[in-house]
């Protein structure tokens, strides 16, 4: 229990601050948990490991939770994962039960968050123990599997795969590092770029650019019409909140949290998939789903418990395999690296104290998020009225600080923001998928090392199939995920053609 000595008042304050800032970011439509982490990143540079983790995890939990506020009050999901919260939350708010809807959502969020933290605590070490035995061959296949799963679950599989490969390609720009067993030569660039790109593009400026600047450009294009929507509904007019709403909701809570945690573990699948899946399951399996869509608490419970369960789920592959589960954990991996944490199979075993601190921070963040939102929801609901024309310039400024300070003052990292901001904007326009691209970018250079080293030591491509039973098993999973995605596409197409006949 040595880690308890690390839990200072500062630790709690930072978690609370993180959760509050996260909730605010989540509550403003168009701004996400990812952005919250990106913007607050510079603050963590000055903090030590424990306090840095506190702030980051607070932001993460808060950011995911905040999305419920505009979902209920404005019928606009604050983050993609609160899309199903609008189905029942907004009808309730129209009846004057806005506060009740929000409080139900907050309690469900707390349950989902704690459930997934529990799963993380018990499951991540098991997975890491298993992954420790992996050689380069299996490590390469794990990355290959992660990219396949991400790509096959995107809307357009071909574009998803292309985006993932493009991300890998971008990560290879720069030097083949000698420290990774490479030969120290640069590639994929012209000679005049060598001065800037010897070390390639830095991870965090790329991420901040894609998630910060791209969003701003997308909104600038639309011209900020109807900036700062103000809710016209009363928070409390109808029936009040009481915990008795949760009577008979245990199955729903557990099912939705499990779905959220599981989807969170799949790399790159994203929050909206989790909440939509949980919502439809509740609709199919509950005894009485007739009111769902017209303001039924059970819909809110399903949606919010599943999207908060993502947090713990997404941390499982991050901490045990070094593979980020979504865009926010992608930024977290960069922030952890800055604090000197190398996530991967060895992480938990080698850093038991840090591991316990993380779990503690995650659990505390959920409780503090709950406390802040449950008692201050009336005031937080006002945040959605802050106009974006004031927020966005400040966000650009904070993105600059984050990018500039990351390598102790390199101006090229700031330009990277703009390069990737514009790139991300164009990429979404032509239909590329940003999440596979980012995850390809993060994993690309490790994939190269594992792939080349495997071939250097075995000298034969067949080794990827014959190395071990685990390798065969991973190939089965890769084929399965492709087959499953094709099955889904074919079924969707059939349904469409049926619909057009009738």
């Amino acid at each position: 229990m040595e880690f308890l000595s690390y839990l200072s008042p500062m630790f709690f304050t930072l978690i609370a601050a993180g959760a509050l800032i996260g909730v605010i970011f989540g509550a403003i439509p168009g701004m996400t948990a990812t952005m919250a982490v990106a913007v607050c990143l510079p603050l963590t540079y000055a903090l030590d490991l424990t306090n840095g983790l506190a702030l980051l995890l607070g932001l993460y939990v808060g950011g995911i939770s905040g999305g419920m506020v505009p979902a209920v009050l404005l019928n606009i999901p604050g983050t993609p994962s609160s899309i199903t919260t609008t189905f029942d939350g907004y009808p309730m708010a129209k009846k004057g039960e806005g506060e009740r809807a929000l409080k139900i959502s907050i309690v469900a969020s707390l349950f989902g968050g704690l459930f997934s933290a529990g799963v993380l605590f018990y499951f991540a070490p098991v997975l890491a123990d298993f992954a420790i035995k992996f050689s380069y061959v299996e490590k390469f296949l794990i990355i290959f599997l992660a990219l396949t799963v991400i790509a096959s679950l995107t809307k357009n599989m071909l574009m998803g795969i292309f985006s993932g490969v493009l991300g890998v390609w971008l990560s290879l720009i720069g030097t083949y590092e000698i420290t990774d067993g490479g030969n120290g030569e640069t590639r994929l660039m012209f000679d005049f770029m060598e001065y800037y790109l010897v070390a390639g593009f830095s991870l965090l400026p790329v991420l901040i650019g894609i998630f910060g600047i791209t969003t701003i450009l997308q909104d600038a294009e639309k011209g900020f019409k109807g900036d700062a929507a103000s809710p016209t509904i009363k928070l409390t007019k109808g029936s009040r909140f009481s915990f008795s709403v949760f009577k008979g909701q245990l199955v729903n809570l557990v099912r939705s949290s499990s779905i959220g945690t599981f989807v969170g573990m799949l790399p790159g699948v994203g929050g909206s998939a989790a909440s939509v899946l949980a919502y439809t399951q509740e609709k199919n399996f509950s005894r009485d789903s007739s009111q769902m869509g017209n303001g039924a608490p059970q819909g809110l419970v399903a949606s919010e418990s599943s999207n908060n369960a993502l947090t713990g789920g997404a941390l499982v592959p991050l901490l045990s395999l070094g593979i980020p589960g979504d865009s926010t954990t992608a930024i977290l991996i960069g922030a952890f690296t800055l604090q000197g944490i190398q996530v991967g199979p060895l992480f938990i075993g080698d850093n038991l104290d840090t591991w316990y601190i993380m779990i503690a921070a995650l659990v505390i963040a959920n409780f503090l998020m709950f406390g802040i939102m449950f008692f201050a929801i009336k005031y937080i609901a006002k945040v959605i009225e802050v106009p974006k024309h004031l927020l966005y310039p400040i966000i650009v400024m904070m993105c600059v600080v984050g990018a500039y300070a990351i390598n102790y003052g390199i101006m090229f990292d700031v330009w990277t923001l703009l390069i990737f901001g514009v790139f991300g904007y164009i990429a979404t326009k032509v239909g590329l998928e940003l999440v596979p691209l980012i995850i390809g970018f993060i994993l690309g250079s490790s994939a190269e090392v594992y792939f080349v080293k495997s071939l250097e030591s075995y000298g034969n491509l067949t080794i990827f199939f014959t190395k071990s039973p685990i390798a065969v098993f991973l190939w089965c999973l890769i084929v399965l995920s492709l087959a499953f995605s094709i099955f889904l596409k074919v079924r969707a197409r059939k349904k469409e053609s049926f619909a057009s006949y009738s």
Binding site: F162, Y176, L217, V422, G459
Partner: protein, 147 residues
């Protein structure tokens, strides 16, 4: 027989060329995928490009040219000037502080819907307070490197 089959898949990587081995594979996969995508969508590419061109040149489809290109232009000037001013006052973060104030003011002015007296006043106030606060907390309290 089996050995012959296995030898088909033999690969040897020369160390001095090893930095190109994986990038070459990835580049070819990328080119191949791009070709498939372009072929499968060949009919949609030209009209989409024309629509995008229309939007950029004439602001059709609700494309706000002023705000979009204004944002990019302001960001470019912001980044450039920050380095210039930062070089005049090295290691103080003044480059960041002094250039952020006009940047925030102009960008907010570009974004705001109605330039009423009250709005402009709020923007002016924000554009001074926000950078000053960020500069003080990050550079002075936390000792973080700023331009």
């Amino acid at each position: 027989m089996e050995n012959q089959f296995l030898s088909l898949f033999e690969v040897s990587i020369a160390f001095e060329e090893s930095h190109l081995f994986f990038p070459r594979i990835v580049s070819w996969v990328l080119v191949g995928l791009l070709a498939i995508i372009l072929l499968s969508k060949s009919k949609k590419v030209a009209p989409a490009l024309r629509r995008a061109g229309q939007a950029v040149m004439h602001g059709s489809d609700g494309f706000d040219r002023k705000r979009f290109f204004g944002t990019i232009l302001l960001i470019v000037i912001y980044f450039y000037m920050m380095a210039v001013v930062g070089d005049v006052f090295p290691n103080t973060g003044y480059g960041f502080l002094f250039v952020s104030i006009p940047f925030i003011f102009l960008l907010a002015l570009l974004y705001v819907d109605e330039k009423t007296k009250k709005n402009v006043l709020v923007i002016a106030l924000t554009s001074v307070v926000a950078p000053a606060l960020a500069w003080y907390v990050l550079s002075e309290l936390f000792r973080i490197t700023l331009p």
